[in-house]
């Protein structure tokens, strides 16, 4: 039996009474074990060992039950985004060559006509409206899907195996636990294969480094089709006996709710991405004490570059520690950790490798010394087995146990690593990986689009944002709005470029290749012109600076100490008197009178900025 499966069975046995999942409903370890046991028996009877099982559902409970059952029974889970458009799912399902699928009923219905499921013998629909009434588990409808080869009523399956404790088949450590696709919206999908050994090694590192136990509670709202949601959330909790809090998927408007739920569920570890941390700046002072309770340990920031200013600002505002981590889907999840121990912390760095090796090499593969930039290579038990059905791609990145990350890094003399750039063509926006070639492929498939080029621009909120330039057939000439709506029928929203610019032609070199530096410059120029126009009308940047300057004069502080979130609760001298003085001074400076409603609305400095901008623009 693989170490991973032994650990899973150990958890089921050791933490029976503990709560495992706080989601739309609550699930104990005992309930999960019962459901995994039942589904596992079914998978074993269906002879899915060594086969791939597609998991495409927004139902956390259904997905995790199927995932653990699949591990125990030696099947390989292939987890896909339940929100992805049918076209993208079809491509990935075909590439996965799976024999079984557990998916939301609406997804199965939508896939019926695509032919993608023709070789998928076992189809288990999950009802999206399913809410377990008692301990019966999630409801899975068993109506025979049109065109399906085998139909099973999983509710009946679970009921008929209800009292079966989970068991594991004899799976080797090198067996593939799961596959996650990191690219391939239209063609040539790249599926990362993670073995039982790698997953187990990664989780042990998490448990040791994050000090997880049956007394800890982890909140992670990142999606399961990304490793950060799956391994650094669900699996990490299962093997440590922790409680996993995931009541909803994260959207920006859920941020206040998320902050409230931290305390409500006594969360000890919050796993999130830098863009969520950036969003917390918009919260008012009522949320400043969101982490102020004894159970809370630290935030784990993953999946994208964490700006040191944001890092420090969050730590100071909330009085907490942020552990910045670095890794890729190919390293299961993380390979370097900046914290939580004081000696392992250095602001701005991704820390040091734990339970793994790292080196920096030049273009010839020669290892470089400290403070020199080169490609980062990592090695250890947590490295992937390879890309699914793609030996060429695997050979490009795996060399004698070392994995080429494609990231340019340097190491300081104390052994801390810093990511300074990227060698491979990848955009990371809000923690999500976007491959420009994927986006280009989708854009080119839109009627009227002749060619597309996608690249990254820095973004204060998302770290990077994807932007695209397209050339169009003059006889069709689709508008940007049309291109956008067509794009969303072919690929998920997260891959949609933030801006699309139509050009007559791309700047090209002598061989006809697009000159990226020129096209980027062209794009930025265009963007600057738009910004300049905006500034001309609203005088935007100046407005903020002038308001800060006036406020700083009245409040007796430095302008650097002010932000749009500054208010009476956070600035010592902000009294009702100084508030009035600010109002009067702003009226004098900008030459208009605030309306009574505007005065009443003016609580934070950002309110004043908004008011002045609106009035000056009008």
């Amino acid at each position: 039996m693989s170490k991973l499966n032994a650990a899973i069975l150990g958890s089921f046995s050791a933490f029976k009474r503990r709560k495992y999942l706080i989601g739309a409903t609550e699930l104990s370890y005992a309930d999960l074990a019962a459901e995994v046991g039942a589904l596992g028996m079914f998978l074993e009877e269906s002879d899915l060992r060594g086969e791939r099982l597609l998991l495409i559902t927004a139902d956390n409970r259904a997905l995790l039950t199927a995932f653990y059952a699949s591990l125990l029974k030696g099947a390989t889970s292939v987890i896909l985004d339940p929100k992805a458009p049918v076209a993208e799912l079809s491509t990935l399902i075909t590439a996965a060559d799976a024999r079984g699928i557990v998916a939301d009923r609406s997804i199965l219905d939508a896939l019926q006509d695509t032919g993608a499921l023709k070789n998928v013998a076992i189809r288990l629909p999950v009802s999206e409206a399913a809410r377990p009434a008692k301990k019966s588990g999630f409801r899975i409808f068993g109506n025979k899907p049109a065109g399906g080869h085998i139909a099973d009523d999983l509710t009946t399956v679970i009921a008929s195996h209800a009292k079966q404790p989970p068991t594991a088949v004899d799976v080797e450590d090198e067996a593939i636990a799961y596959i996650l696709f990191t690219s391939g919206t239209t063609s040539n999908p790249k599926g990362v294969m993670i073995s039982h050994r790698a997953l187990h090694a990664q989780i042990q590192t998490f448990i040791n480094n994050y000090r997880l136990s049956s007394d800890t509670t982890v909140m992670n709202l990142l999606p399961f089709h990304h490793t950060d949601g799956l391994t650094q959330g669900a699996v990490m909790c299962l093997l440590s006996g922790s409680t996993f809090v995931r009541p909803y998927a994260f959207t920006p408007d859920m941020l206040p709710q998320m902050m409230d739920d931290l305390y409500k569920h006594s969360v000890s570890h919050l796993v999130t991405v830098p863009s969520v941390l950036a969003l917390t700046k918009s919260l008012d002072s009522g949320y400043a004490e969101s982490f102020d309770y004894p159970e809370f340990k630290f935030i784990i920031s993953t999946a994208a570059y964490l700006d040191p200013r944001l890092w420090q600002a969050c730590e100071e505002r909330f009085g907490i520690q942020i552990v910045n981590v670095y890794g890729l889907t190919e390293t299961v999840c993380e390979t370097m950790y900046c914290g939580p121990g004081a000696k392992e912390r250095r602001l701005g760095s991704v820390g040091k490798p734990i339970d793994s090796l790292a080196k920096i090499v030049d273009d010839n593969g020669t290892e470089l010394g400290d403070e020199l930039d080169g490609e980062l290579l990592v090695a250890g038990d947590h490295i992937m087995s390879g890309y699914f059905n793609n030996p060429d791609a695997t050979a490009e990145v795996l060399d004698d146990g070392w994995f080429r990350t494609g990231d340019i890094a340097k190491r300081d003399t104390d052994g801390f690593y810093y990511i300074v750039g990227r060698k491979k063509d990848l955009i990371i926006t809000g923690g999500m990986n976007i491959y420009p070639e994927d986006v280009n492929g989708v854009l080119r498939s839109i009627p009227g689009v002749l060619d597309a080029v996608t690249f990254a621009l820095p973004d204060p909120m998302w770290g990077e944002r994807a932007v695209s330039c397209v050339t169009c057939d003059s006889s069709v000439d689709p508008s940007v709005e049309t291109i956008t709506s067509e794009f969303l029928t072919r690929a998920s929203r997260q891959k949609l470029p933030r801006e699309i610019l139509k050009l007559d032609d791309f700047p090209r070199g002598p061989a006809g290749k697009v000159v990226m530096s020129e096209i980027k410059a062209l794009f930025i120029r265009q963007l600057s012109q738009q910004e300049a126009q905006k500034e001309q009308t609203a005088d935007e940047g100046d407005v903020e600076a002038r308001i800060y300057s006036i406020a700083a004069g009245i409040l007796g502080c430095e302008t650097q100490a002010l932000s749009n979130e500054s208010e009476a609760e956070t600035i010592a001298n902000w009294t009702s008197l100084s508030h009035v003085e600010m109002t009067l001074e702003l009226e004098k400076a900008f030459g208009f009178k605030f309306t009574p409603r505007e005065i009443m609305k003016f609580r934070r400095l950002g309110d004043a900025v908004d008011i002045v901008r609106k009035r000056t623009a009008a």
């Binding site: 206040p256 709710q257 409230d260 739920d261 305390y263 409500k264 569920h265 006594s266 009522g286 949320y287 309770y293 004894p294 009294t575 009702s576 008197l577 009035v580 109002t583 009067l584 605030f594 309306t595 009574p596 409603r597 005065i599 009443m600 609305k601 609580r603």
Partner: protein, 383 residues
């Protein structure tokens, strides 16, 4: 009904017990049901008034939040019962209807106005009608405030869970509250201190009057702070951190600071919903201050003595701002490097502030304004 009554003390024991025993989804309905039952038992009209205020607040938020005039009308309607009951209190026996006790009206009317005006300002988080019911019918703050705010309450409701540390803090605050009311105010000040003045000092002498003024001022503080502690402690037993109402007001260096530390939930209400609107309409800071303090006074009682008391304090704040501008800032700057001078100046400031405030209290500690003025004249040797 007083927080010292047996039924209230029993409630402090039984309500949290029941509250934490029932499943989470029943906790808020349970609290609302208890509030309504208590009100219906002691004063059915209060229960009806509170329900009407709650429904009306929700209607204002749901349908009129974008219309300034409609919101002003809604807030005015919410103020009508308060004004009516405050006014009729003064005319008992002079042809006014018999007094109907409206329990908690002074507090929930201001809560309803706050909610209505915040709806207009866009300061309310996303919520449903049940959340407004839970807010308006929150048992711990029913009798004596504080006039806590909806956003914080809503956030606490979202976060609510059993927390032994918070529960323990709640018990601690209850203990402090009852100690302040029962021992410090009732025994130490009323029995011992005032008893000593009555027994050993010449009645009507200036020293006796002075000490009586001090005693009554201290009594007022400890009584009211104690009541607030009980409400805050009770709320903590239920998992809510409601706003503080007092922050060492008697050791403040000026009258502005005093009114930022005394009955904070009311003074901040007046600042937000009287001072700011008056200022925004007139741009006259002094008028905003005087208006806010007048409303603060009349909120206690619709009488001349409270009107004068409000104006007195408002004028004190305006005068302090002028003093600060003319000399105060220069004095502070001159002594900033001399720690002894700073300490002496601070002590003088605190004593002056306390006396200014206590003198103000004498205006309302007597039944009538003339009685209060008479006391003051005698104290100052003018009578």
């Amino acid at each position: 009904m007083s927080v010292l009554s047996l039924i209230w003390v029993m409630g402090l024991i039984l309500v949290p017990l029941l509250y934490w025993v029932v499943p989470e989804r029943f906790r808020s309905p349970l609290l609302v049901a208890i509030t309504l039952a208590v009100l219906a038992f002691f004063s059915p009209v209060s229960a009806i008034l509170l329900c009407c205020a709650t429904i009306f607040a929700w209607i204002a938020y749901r349908f009129f939040a974008e219309n300034g005039w409609a919101i002003a009308a809604c807030a005015s309607v919410q103020a009508v019962p308060l004004v009516y009951f405050k006014a009729t209190q003064q005319f008992q026996g002079f042809g006014a209807p018999d007094l109907i006790i409206a329990i908690g009206l002074s507090y929930y009317a201001l809560r309803a106005i706050h909610y209505t005006l915040e709806a207009y300002k866009g300061g309310l988080p996303q919520h449903g009608p049940i959340d407004v019911v839970n807010y308006m019918l929150f048992l711990p703050t029913l009798l004596a405030g504080p006039i806590h705010r909806f956003p914080q309450f809503h956030q606490d409701q979202q976060r609510r869970r059993w927390n032994s540390a918070l529960f323990s803090e709640g018990l601690e605050r209850l203990l402090y509250g009852y100690f302040k009311i029962a021992f410090i105010a009732n025994v130490m000040i009323n029995e011992w201190f005032i008893g000593h003045i009555n027994d050993h000092m010449v009645e009507g002498s200036r020293s006796a009057l002075y000490l009586t003024m001090i005693a009554k001022g201290l009594n007022g503080y400890f009584q009211f702070a104690g009541y607030s502690d009980v409400a805050i402690g009770f709320a903590r037993l239920l998992g809510f951190r409601i706003m503080e109402n007092f922050n060492w007001p008697l050791v403040r260096r000026n009258v502005q600071e005093f009114w930022s530390a005394w009955h904070i939930s009311l003074t901040s209400w007046c600042r937000e919903y009287v001072y700011v609107p008056v200022f925004s309409l007139t741009r006259a800071r002094w008028l905003g201050i005087i208006s806010a303090m007048m409303v603060l006074g009349l909120w206690h009682e619709f009488t001349a003595r409270y009107l004068v008391w409000g104006i007195y304090n408002g004028a004190g704040i305006v005068a302090w701002h002028q003093w600060r501008r003319l000399a105060g800032e220069r004095i502070d700057a001159a002594i900033v490097d001399n720690s002894l001078a700073v300490r002496i100046w601070t002590a003088i400031s605190i004593l002056l502030t306390m006396h200014f405030v206590f003198i103000g209290f004498t205006l309302v500690q007597n039944e009538t304004l003339t009685g209060g003025l008479g006391f003051l004249s005698a104290l100052l040797g003018l009578a």
